[in-house]
């Protein structure tokens, strides 16, 4: 529905806007008044979807993402018979942006899901072994579904925060195994989450690095780097994006910015989770 045209329009804006944004950046200023290394406010709400085993809604400035976690009984992969299965998918819903179209996930949606998935997987945030029901036969399959509702920039980080918050919110039904048959009980225990992988995205606009780019900044950025940290000094995934290039110095500087942002966001998540426990 009119994708090409919408892109042309966005191009015109970014063409004109780029000069303005660059001029501001020369004086270390941003269009929304933030400092270069300042992220937008994060609002996290968990348990918003009762029908999901875990859920979280995150607002990052005006960007909004909803994540639902569902559990289903399935078979384990042959090479990991005692581990549950984790799958992550993203839908860039057409409600979220004039350039998102209905239809199967495009490369942007798939890249986003895979970056989030890698962060959770490589940090071993979820104890997959705890999701085994009968070794080699029955395990829990954990579906993380990322729903992007409003794209005002940096849907990557909003999705990452919502995903890990939703995992913290997830309750796993207890099961009873009798003669190889699985009965799902009406009792739950919280999913074992061991780490808090959080992605931090930094855009390169001209020769400046800006943390947590908004939509207008994304339109004019040359490239982007997403660093996922699971601890202050543990990087668990990196993704360079955008068609431009970044230098070694940019990467190192980004790591530094990411570390500070990680602390901030992690605190916000912990607060929401502990509040829920009360």
């Amino acid at each position: 529905m009119g994708k090409v045209i919408n892109l042309v329009k966005e191009e015109l804006i970014s063409d004109v806007r780029r000069d303005y944004i660059l001029r501001l950046l020369e004086n270390d200023k941003r269009i929304d008044g933030r400092r270069l290394d300042e992220g937008r406010d994060v609002e996290i709400e968990v348990g918003v979807i009762r029908k999901a085993e875990g859920s979280a809604k995150v607002k990052l400035g005006d960007t909004q993402v909803l994540v639902g976690v569902k559990l289903e009984i399935g078979e384990p992969f042959p090479d990991s018979p005692n581990r549950g299965v984790l799958t992550t998918s993203t839908e860039l819903l057409p409600v979220a942006s004039p350039v998102f179209e209905p239809g199967p996930p495009n490369e942007d949606a798939i890249e986003l899901a895979r970056v989030i998935d890698r962060g959770i997987r490589s940090s071993e945030a979820v104890d997959l072994e705890s999701l085994c029901i009968i070794e080699g036969e029955k395990v829990w399959v954990l579906f993380i579904d990322i729903h992007v509702l409003d794209d005002d920039g940096n849907i990557m980080d909003a999705s990452s925060i919502a995903s890990i918050a939703a995992l913290y919110d997830t309750k796993v039904p207890k099961t009873l195994v009798e003669n190889g048959k699985v009965e799902i009980l009406d009792e739950y225990e919280p999913l074992t989450v061991r780490k808090t992988p959080i992605s931090v995205t930094i855009a390169k606009v001209g020769n400046k690095l800006v943390l947590d780019p908004n939509h207008e900044e994304e339109l004019v950025m040359d490239s982007r780097i997403t660093v996922t940290l699971s601890e202050e000094n543990e990087v668990c995934s990196i993704q360079k994006g955008g068609s431009g290039t970044i230098s070694e110095r940019d990467v190192l500087e980004s790591l530094e910015i990411a570390r500070n942002r990680f602390k901030e966001v992690k605190e916000a998540i912990s607060e929401v989770i502990s509040r829920r426990g009360d």
């Binding site: 029908k51 839908e91 209905p102």
Partner: protein, 212 residues
């Protein structure tokens, strides 16, 4: 109910009725491509109804199925009579409905939300469209079935109206009712729609009716 909840969309609304949680967004009127789909005398209204994988007990695979395609169609037809499409020739007005959590009656909740999103987008309309569902459970006609009732109910009947003059824009029924029961259901359903209409007005007033 809340309107204007999304930044990027031209119009948007969030509606929660019972356990249903629905977001609707409107984009347009905007240029329609490919050209051959354009109408020289009016805007084309497109509608997509979509359920989140986590919106139901058993995870739903994403993407359209036969059910959601039908609902998209009847939703579009339920809203179109209210829109002055003739003001915007050669364009499209795109309506997207996302079901975040489903109980019974997602299509009527979707229509109610979409009508608010259209009003929020400033698209000229003859009237709002208000919708609700009536059903028959254990021989009794009731308003707003829940999922449990729906599963054990004998009939389900979604209705949408333009409340100004009670014109019906959507009417479906699934199940069995006697003629007497149907008449009762229709009457109850239209009353239900008028209740929804009051809430819609309140949501719009809350957002736009204050101050200056």
């Amino acid at each position: 109910m809340e309107v204007g909840i999304l930044k990027r969309a031209d119009g948007s609304a969030y509606v929660e009725i019972g356990d249903n949680k629905v977001i609707a967004a409107v984009y347009g009127p905007r240029e329609l491509h490919p050209r051959h789909l354009q109408r020289p005398d009016r805007a084309v209204v497109n509608c997509r109804y979509n359920m989140a994988p986590f919106s139901v007990e058993e995870r739903k695979r994403s993407g359209p199925d036969r059910r959601s395609i039908e609902i998209s169609k009847v939703t579009r037809l339920a809203l179109e009579p209210a829109i002055f499409t003739e003001y915007f020739p050669r364009t499209s007005i795109d309506i997207f409905i996302e079901i975040l959590q489903a109980d019974a009656g997602t299509r009527t909740t979707g229509i109610t939300a979409a009508s608010l999103a259209l009003a929020d987008a400033g698209i000229p309309m003859r009237d709002l469209v208000s919708a609700c569902a009536v059903g028959k459970v254990a021989g009794r006609i009731v308003l707003d079935l829940t999922k449990v009732e729906d599963n054990f109910g004998e009939a389900d009947m979604p209705i949408a109206i333009m409340p100004r003059d009670n014109r019906i824009t959507l009417l479906q029924m699934d199940g069995t009712m006697t003629e007497e029961e149907f008449k009762e259901a229709l009457k109850l359903g239209m009353e239900g729609c008028r209740k929804i209409y009051k809430e819609q007005r309140r949501a719009l007033k809350e957002k736009y009716g204050q101050g200056d």
